[in-house]
């Protein structure tokens, strides 16, 4: 079987000034994953590492660059799934974790569960030795500006639809 990888960086609105960054970001992620596949690595490792590249890229709404909730905080969700045996792991509402996709994989491989959330996910991360990062390091100037702007547009739901998750 010839290896194949496909990545996406979200279906939200991409403004002109962010087009190049978004395009180069997904390209880097796809190449990262493909190199793993070319070296005989697993599809699971390839998708995880591709997503890590985009979580670390502030152009995208995941990891560093995540949009903010109504209180101005980052709350992130992630899922990973292995098609070989239908095993899956997910986390939701996690804060202060640089790469939620890695935590999701730990849920898949180190627990009997499918999904851990919020404080339970954080406790699990600590038990697994996953380093916590200050929440501010995940917040970019752009996400902070969007949050403030959307607070003003709160009465117009159509504004939210333009910036899909």
């Amino acid at each position: 079987m010839k290896p194949v990888i496909v990545v996406h960086g979200g279906a939200g609105r991409i403004f002109k000034e962010r087009e190049n960054g978004s395009r180069s970001g997904v390209t880097r992620a796809a190449l990262k994953g493909y190199n793993i596949l070319k070296q005989g690595g697993s599809a699971l490792d390839a998708v995880e590492e591709a997503v890590v590249v985009m979580e670390n890229d502030p152009h995208f709404n995941a990891g560093c660059g995540s949009v903010l909730n109504e209180k101005g905080e980052v709350e992130m969700d992630a899922i990973i799934m292995d098609g070989k045996n239908l095993t899956s792991g997910a986390v939701s509402a996690v804060k202060c974790i640089a790469n939620p996709i890695k935590l999701a994989r730990l849920v898949m491989e180190k627990t009997d569960h499918m999904l851990l959330t919020d404080q339970g996910a954080l406790a699990f991360a600590r038990a697994m030795g996953v380093p916590e990062v200050p929440g501010e390091t995940l917040i970019t100037e752009r996400s902070l500006e969007r949050w403030k702007k959307n607070l003003e547009a709160d009465s117009n739901p159509q504004e939210f639809q333009k910036d899909l998750g």
């Binding site: 079987m1 194949v4 990888i5 990545v7 978004s22 998708v47 098609g83 899909l164």
Partner: protein, 134 residues
Amino acid sequence: TVGAVAIDSAGNVACATSTGGLTNKRVGRVGDTACIGSGGYADNIVGATSTTGHGESIMKVVLARLILYHMEQGKSPEDAADVALNYMKTRVGGLGGVIVVSSSGDWAARFSTKQMAWATVKDDQLQSGIFTGE
């Protein structure tokens, strides 16, 4: 939201999706990403998919699993993605995008929104796009 799907040289498929969610979302709101079958699904027999878009709509139609269902019925990844995205649009008014890889190595990147950044590598050939038709 970001996501990836892949098939390796052993024929195993996988998916991964990660997100910060919806801008200014309610505290505690969880969208599709963390929900199996909505934010992603992978099954070696059919393929793998990762989704992005309006999370509540994606959850209503269980978009990732719906795409694989259509592939099980014989549709190509592209047709299955289009049918599922159109179903989500007409039934619940939701927009979004998906990436798909089949167990035979065919792939698709489709979206009902105006834009979705995507990239793929197959046979050492890199392709990417943002707008419809790219």
